[in-house]
């Protein structure tokens, strides 16, 4: 899953990823990961490189990608 600094950032990422056809779900951040904001995006591990590429190109700052 990918964590963001702000909800607005997470929502922007949601739109960008959906536009590229990445299956995803917005979920509350698991407590142990203690994100800056309350929601994060869960996606399939197989899409990790694609997600990194899309978010990298958008210059959207992320807090990190974590495995769950």
């Amino acid at each position: 899953m990918v964590l963001f600094h702000s909800i607005s950032g997470a929502l922007r990422a949601e739109k960008l990823l959906k536009a590229e056809g990445v299956p995803l779900k917005m979920i509350p951040v698991p407590r142990h990961l203690s994100s800056d904001c309350g929601i994060c995006i869960r996606f399939e591990r197989a899409d990790e490189l694609k997600v990194e590429g899309i978010l990298g190109r958008s210059k959207l700052e992320i807090q990190g990608i974590h495995q769950i």
Binding site: H5, S6, I7, S8, G9, R12, D36, G38, I39, K59
Partner: protein
């Protein structure tokens, strides 16, 4: 009834605006960005969609560079108070609204230097006058894009180029132009763009915002601090956009309406909207100008302004003209100084003010004819009761 006060608040709104607000209140309703549940996420999406539509309208790459405020006044206060410190110098024009003049005058009392560059009697500004006023300590140039008194457009593209060349921040007050006239922040070299939602963007009152160019946020202090839903473990304000400037629960229902309004503008196209208003403005300018005893102010050319028109009838106070327009003809307009005393001093209409008529998207050419006949009747009846 003929509503000619669209420069204050556009009304009525496109049907989609009412629907979006009703739908938000009934179906979504929750706080955006505060919880992980689906209604909160949906509320967040509504706010984000509005940001994205505005970014498209103003040609802004990253929608998160737009922060929401309750109106253009608040946005201008964030920009002006956020940037200027004692010892700094600021430049503005003599056609400004009090939403620019009052924050600047207040800062002047606290040690900020201010130069007010004079405009012509028609409300035009010579960009060279701005360049001449620049000093080593000049930090900020603030200009309105279109006058709220006479609709005259100021040369923001030229001043934007001058500001960038001298390394001075450039803030544009687009209260009267956003949605009514093409706006492109990168082409205009604008660092800070303040807009309101309730005029030509067709949103409800209580919505507005500020675009902050990448990197400029480092020198713009927020007006307010508080909860943002992010960095909840920290007692300090986040430093990233939009959260740095968006504390507290926002006017989400208002932003839902604003989003629908901006979508309406995008679907119609700014040029088409402007063309429609220009036709009515052309009729009003030609017609009012031909009535004996009527003085028109401003450019006198519908192509050089937005849909705001000021006039006076010789011998009758602007307040009395407005009262008679409403009581005898059911025409609603705005007399007086329209919160812009310095603009009226420039136009030579201080302190009496003017009668301001501002048509909107829903104003028809037939209504313009009715207005012209009404003004003609009032003018031909001569002197009023001297109110």
């Amino acid at each position: 009834m003929i509503y000619l006060d669209n420069a204050a608040t556009s009304w009525p709104k496109p049907e989609v605006v009412y629907q979006a607000m009703n739908n938000f209140m009934r179906q979504v309703g929750a706080s955006p960005g505060r919880s992980g549940h689906r209604l909160s996420i949906e509320a967040g999406r509504v706010v984000y969609e509005t940001r994205e539509s505005l970014a498209r309208l103003f040609n802004i790459d990253d929608p998160l560079r737009i922060i929401f405020t309750s109106n253009a006044t608040e946005a201008l206060n964030v920009a002006i108070n956020g940037v200027l410190r004692p010892g700094d110098h600021a430049i503005t024009s003599s056609m400004e609204h009090n939403s620019v003049m009052r924050p600047l005058r207040a800062l002047q009392e606290r040690g900020v230097e201010l130069t007010v560059v004079s405009c012509s009697k028609e409300g035009f500004l010579d960009p060279g006058g701005i360049e001449k006023a620049i000093k080593p300590n000049t930090r900020l140039i603030v200009l309105n894009h279109a006058s709220n008194v006479v609709g005259t457009l100021l040369p923001v593209i030229e001043v934007g180029a001058i500001a960038r060349r001298h390394g001075v921040l450039f803030c544009v007050d687009a209260a009267q132009s956003a949605g009514a006239y093409p706006l492109d922040v990168s082409f205009m070299k604008v660092d800070l763009l303040a807009f309101t939602g309730h005029k030509s963007l067709f949103g409800p009152q209580g919505t507005g915002g500020l675009y902050i160019r990448q990197g400029v946020e480092d020198v713009v202090e927020p007006l307010m601090h508080g909860g943002t839903g992010s960095r909840s473990d920290s007692e300090h304000q986040p430093d990233f956009l939009p959260d740095k400037y968006e504390s507290g629960t926002p006017n989400t229902v208002g932003l839902a309406g604003l989003g629908a309004g901006v979508q309406f503008v995008l679907s119609q196209g700014v040029d088409a909207l402007r063309e429609k208003e220009e036709k009515v403005m052309y009729l009003l300018i030609e017609g009012l100008g031909a009535i004996p005893g009527v003085t028109l102010y401003g450019s006198g050319d519908a192509r050089e302004q937005v849909a705001v028109l000021s006039f006076n009838i010789a011998g009758i106070a602007s307040s009395e003209v407005a009262m008679r327009l409403e009581e005898e003809y059911d025409i609603l307009c705005r007399p007086g100084l329209q919160c812009a005393p310095i603009a009226h001093k420039t136009l030579g209409t201080f302190p009496g003010g003017t009668v301001r008529v501002s048509p909107g998207y829903f104003t028809t050419e037939d209504e313009a004819d009715i207005v012209l006949r009404a003004v003609c009747n009032i003018a031909s009846m001569g002197k009023g009761i001297g109110l």
